[in-house]
């Protein structure tokens, strides 16, 4: 058997190539003026000279293939260009935003992992009983919960009515908090976004854990464990849970990628200054270079998450280990 982690490498490479090509082709294939879609500025308001300047700068007067090669060169050298709105280097904007998104996605993932695994395991253990069925129904309902709506309600209730948490941002603006006080301030701002993302992630973890547990529960080695007289506790923790956890961890890595993308909506609701909010601002301000760059960062994040999942699986599931 080949190594799992490397098996999918060509696929991830392909994903990256597709993402870059989409970035390149979409604005050029859309009806209308590609200049407006690439620069994002109001082309109509520009003088012909300014327009010509941008056309040469972006290389729109070159043949398509030359443009494509230049585009790749820029991507591979991390030369993501400048925002047309703020004039700042895009790389700088992204490195500034990325930690915030990581904070809320990783935070929510850890909480939802614990809750989802415990509930999913419990549910499977009580398969077909009332606890199982009502939990399952509850989780199906949670999957239909619109994320932005949940965020808005949390703000209305916990930030505005009760005043427990701040309603926007990642830090108190213009504050002079230092050390632990600053950490506390940041956590206070992160709690509601994390809760929202957590509630959204729990059903997926729960479902994966439950199905994975059910599969293990039906397998031969569990019957053997019971037959040799192992206590129910020992069966549950020593045999079932241990073997059921591998798919869940894989799922968590993929879920991370999903939560990362979901930050677009959550961060918009909470005015949280992360990457998701950046892509939203770029879209609504038609700052297309920023939007494209953010999209690439999301793609890379997804690929990394998938790679981690591939590498973790054999570690957790001895049956998948390479000989």
């Amino acid at each position: 058997m080949r190594r799992i982690g490397l098996k999918n490498l060509d696929r991830y490479l392909l994903v990256f190539v597709v993402a870059v090509s989409l970035n390149f082709l979409l604005p050029r294939l859309m009806p209308g003026n590609p200049l407006a879609l690439i620069a994002g500025v109001d082309v109509g308001l520009m003088t012909p000279d300014e327009r010509a300047e941008i056309i040469t700068a972006v290389g729109l007067d070159e043949p398509l293939l030359t443009q494509f090669i230049d585009y790749w060169k820029a991507v591979l050298t991390f030369d993501l260009g400048f925002s047309y709105k703020s004039g700042r280097p895009i790389v700088e904007m992204i490195t500034e935003r990325l930690p915030w998104t990581l904070l809320i996605t990783v935070g929510s993932l850890m909480v939802s992992a614990v809750i989802g695994i415990v509930l999913g395991g419990w549910s499977a253990w009580r398969r077909g009983k009332k606890t199982d069925l009502s939990m399952l129904t509850g989780m199906i309902s949670l999957q239909s919960l619109p994320s932005f709506w949940l965020g808005m309600l949390l703000i209305s209730v916990f930030a505005v009515q009760l005043g427990w948490f701040p309603s926007f941002g990642a830090e108190t603006p213009a504050s002079s908090y230092e050390g632990m006080a600053r950490v506390g301030d940041i956590l206070e701002h992160a709690i509601l976004p994390i809760v929202t993302l957590t509630v959204l992630s729990i059903p997926g973890v729960y479902m994966t854990m439950r199905y994975s547990m059910l599969e293990v529960l039906g397998s031969d080695f569990i019957r053997t464990a019971r037959a040799k007289g192992a206590s129910e506790r020992r069966v549950l923790f020593g045999h079932v849970a241990r073997n059921a956890i591998a798919p869940v961890v894989t799922f968590l890595a993929i879920r991370f990628a999903f939560a990362f993308g979901g930050s677009v909506i959550i961060e918009t609701v909470f005015s949280y200054p992360g990457l998701g909010r950046l892509i939203f601002e770029a879209v609504s301000g038609r700052d297309y270079p920023v939007m494209q760059a953010a999209f690439l960062v999301f793609t890379v994040a997804v690929i990394v998450a998938n790679l981690v999942a591939d590498l973790l699986y054999p570690v957790l599931d001895p049956r998948m280990r390479v000989e």
Binding site: V264, I279, T299
Partner: protein, 283 residues
């Protein structure tokens, strides 16, 4: 995936799944009625300014008015139209794409199937929501574009499920027999494979409607929906940009549209769950 390890019908659908399916069906029917009879049910034209802006609920306006004085209850009732239309049509787009790709990839698993599945995997790995937003931003805001963007992004998952079933169907005796007797592939696919994937395809279709409804709401909420249509997502977009959720108005401006989105999406999700339990029991 273990499809048809038990033949359907041999094991009855669990009672709970059936009951949940019925609840879902009732929810969908109520919403469809609301969408069809919106002009009769809604007290006002949702696009008319019929009162003072930012009114709390009153006898004339049960859910108050929005920032330009339109009746929120009427907006809510008309919103069912956009939500259901986008949800169902986008799911049809996804169903056609997903079934075509799934059947082709399953029936020709060698070269064509490999290429198709490779592209399915790429779509499934790409960051979903950011891609949705980028596409919507480039295409522009209209009902049709919303449908297209959602449809072309959600077919990949279903196509994989359908492929794995076709893969097992193509080596069944009756398919082999018809091929041995010289029937063209087209015949085998249309006569033998498609009818047997119909149930599975319908299940994934209903699930896709549930997803599409949530995505439409999210796009409208981000201001990427059709600006001329009243949808539940766009009501929440205005509630957000006018800061309604920071005032007591959240109870009549924010709460109801979100509930409607949830009911619509959940209705289809429950029916899908009941169908999946029938095809592949996991309860």
């Amino acid at each position: 995936m273990k499809l048809f390890t038990r033949r359907p019908g041999r094991r009855p659908t669990p009672k709970v799944a059936k009951r949940l399916g019925i609840v879902g069906g009732v929810m969908i029917s109520a919403l469809v009625l609301m969408a069809v009879f919106a002009p009769l049910l809604a007290p006002y034209d949702p696009t008319e300014r019929v009162g003072a802006p930012f009114q709390p609920p009153s006898a004339e306006h049960w859910l108050g008015t929005n920032d330009v004085g339109q009746d929120l209850l009427s907006e809510l009732i008309y919103g069912a139209r956009v939500s259901l239309t986008v949800g169902i049509v986008a799911a049809i787009v996804a169903l056609i794409l997903g079934t075509t790709v799934g059947v082709l990839a399953g029936y020709y698993p060698k070269r064509l199937g490999k290429v198709l599945m490779q592209s399915v995997d790429v779509i499934l790995i790409l960051p979903f929501l950011p891609l949705l937003i980028v596409l919507a931003a480039y295409l522009g805001r209209s009902l049709l574009n919303t449908i297209v963007v959602i449809g072309v992004l959600i077919w990949a998952g279903p196509s994989r499920v359908i492929r794995s079933q076709v893969l097992s169907l193509r080596s069944r005796e009756y398919v082999l027999a018809s091929r041995t007797m010289g029937a063209p592939d087209r015949w085998a696919i249309v006569r033998h494979v498609l009818p047997r994937t119909a149930l599975l395809a319908t299940g994934t279709f209903v699930r896709a409607v549930s997803t599409a409804i949530l995505l439409e709401a999210a796009l409208s909420f981000l201001g990427l929906g059709d600006p001329l249509q009243k949808s539940w997502g766009s009501i929440l977009f205005w509630a957000q940009s006018r800061g309604a959720f920071l005032t007591p108005a959240w109870k009549w401006w924010v709460l109801p549209p979100g509930l409607m989105i949830m009911i619509a999406s959940l209705g289809f999700a429950l029916v899908a769950f009941a169908m999946e339990e029938r095809i592949n029991p996991r309860l």
